[in-house]
């Protein structure tokens, strides 16, 4: 009994420590954005300032990089979603042996270091005299982000009843109509999830981008070069904004989830 109680408290303490380990660094980093010192830190505290946010706001290079990040992420999503979805549908119609081979090739990019993807993409297009640049970053990122989309869509396909396609055909639908009205609506949740994950994966990608970007910047590369050459708390200001946005997103999500739960309970009663 006693040892049970002890285990109980031990694991709870562990969970709290774990969460603290995951979140405290973010608090430290965000907090340092308000400290009035050139070298980012929260200790010692030199006084509150919003100076670093103003400096960030005025940084033209940061804005350019942010714009590039969004463009790249949109392009990556626009390519990965159809490619990953097509891949999942193809895979789903294959038989055991060819299925496992193709599956292996499809998931390989997930298990490949970003540096390798970046370099191989760079070299491949170099052969065709395509210079480095963000377009190559897009292609390199698509190679593995499409695999995430594929996995999500494939999982969703398992719960699809192919009989519905036949029913629609029988009612006179064309193949394109079957795809648009029956199959794709079933896959939408997975496709949206894939698009979301793809967007953020792309936005936070560093390794692939580093080797393929040419002279262009994305936010991660911009932060990377800042860290190498002259750290200032503007990075912390940027981090604070990102963290704040995430936290707000999380809170909204949580509230909606609780509401949905409550609604479900009501419906059950």
């Amino acid at each position: 009994m006693n040892s049970h109680r002890f285990g109980h408290y031990a694991i709870r303490t562990y969970v709290v420590l774990f969460i603290a380990f995951m979140l405290l660094p973010l608090i430290v980093m965000g907090g340092a954005a308000f400290n009035d010192t050139r070298f980012p830190s929260i200790y010692p505290w030199f006084g509150f300032t919003t100076h670093w946010f103003q400096e960030l706001w005025a940084d033209g290079r940061m804005w350019g990089a942010a714009r590039n990040t969004v463009f790249v992420a949109i392009a990556v999503v626009a390519l990965s979603v159809p490619i990953g979805t097509a891949g999942a549908i193809l895979l789903n119609s294959l038989q055991a042996r060819s299925r496992s081979i193709i599956y292996g090739i499809m998931v390989a990019p997930i298990l490949t270091p970003g540096a390798v993807i970046g370099i191989s993409t760079l070299l491949f297009w170099y052969k065709f005299n395509v210079p480095a640049g963000l377009h190559l970053s897009v292609l390199g990122q698509v190679s593995y982000i499409a695999a995430y989309v594929m996995l999500l869509v494939l999982a969703r396909l398992q719960s699809f009843d192919a009989g519905l396609e036949e029913a629609a055909l029988d009612l006179g639908a064309s193949h394109a109509q079957v795809m648009r009205r029956i199959l794709l609506p079933h896959l939408y949740p997975a496709i949206f999830a894939g698009a979301l994950i793809g967007f953020f994966q792309s936005a936070e990608n560093f390794n692939v981008t580093l080797f393929t970007r040419g002279n262009s910047d994305t936010l991660t590369v911009y932060v990377g070069s800042k860290i190498r050459s002259g750290i200032t708390p503007t990075i912390n200001a940027l981090a604070f904004l990102l963290i704040a946005a995430t936290v707000i997103g999380v809170i909204i999500y949580e509230i909606r989830r609780r509401r949905a739960d409550a609604a479900m309970k009501l419906a059950e009663e």
């Binding site: 995951m22 430290v28 490619i83 891949g87 499809m106 070299l123 860290i227 999380v250």
Partner: protein, 292 residues
Amino acid sequence: MSELIRRYGSSLTWIIILFTAFWLLVLVLIPNFVLFEFSFKPYLPVDQLGGPKDFYSLNNYWTFFNSPIHIRIFFQTVLYSSAVTLLCLIMSYPLAYFLAKVVDPKTAPSIFLLLIIPLWVSEILRSFAWFIILAYNGPLNAMLQGIGLEPVRWISGFNAVIIGLIYSYLLFMLLPIYNAISSLDTNQIEASEDLGASLWRTHWRVVIPHSKPGIASGCVMVFMLCAGSVIVPSTLASPSSRWFTEIIQQWMFEGLDWNTGAAYAFLLLTLCIIFVSLVMRLLNVRLVDIAK
């Protein structure tokens, strides 16, 4: 193929095949093949390409095997990546089990939401956070001094790199293990305890075997991310702790010798392939179980 045509008609089938082929050939297979081919060619100025010096050889790989420093860095990368993988596994398993089977299923999603916040903040900022914390005059040492301990020079040797890697990739271990344990029927755990098995035995014989695919998946991901990490070492490494990806960057950006860079990248890729096969063999799982 005929199944696809039957279900979606020939034009949609062509589109599906075209998309997939573009992905697998143009984005995955051929670039890797080009990387492979490049790694056997010498680095030459443009006007000598196709000339008498342009032939295949193992020279780029000899560069690696003749450089004790590079070999040492390679093995240090392997060693510390393995260590980080193991530490992540040890840290994640209890929490994954707790979240999947002990905690009230209603609160688990909230805890997860908290834990996942760092994932939305990019990897580079996550390592930067530790750069601040671990600085010699930083908050961690201030705290240590506050409770009467000596300050530690964290950013020396591989200390900071290991901490940064764990922090960055821990969730890639936690999530797959959590998913695997969640799919275990709680009755099985109760049955095992009911039959008199101790806590350790229940885990060793029931929970761990069931979560093997998750463990394999987590280990493969974390190892690959560690060995291939560029950001964490470049932010947190000290002069005495260098990472294999930094050597690759040197060839690519400073030496501008893309051929040797390709050879080194290929070595890194080979390392990851070996690790994946080793884990699959050791834990007796298939690729389908790992990548989910």
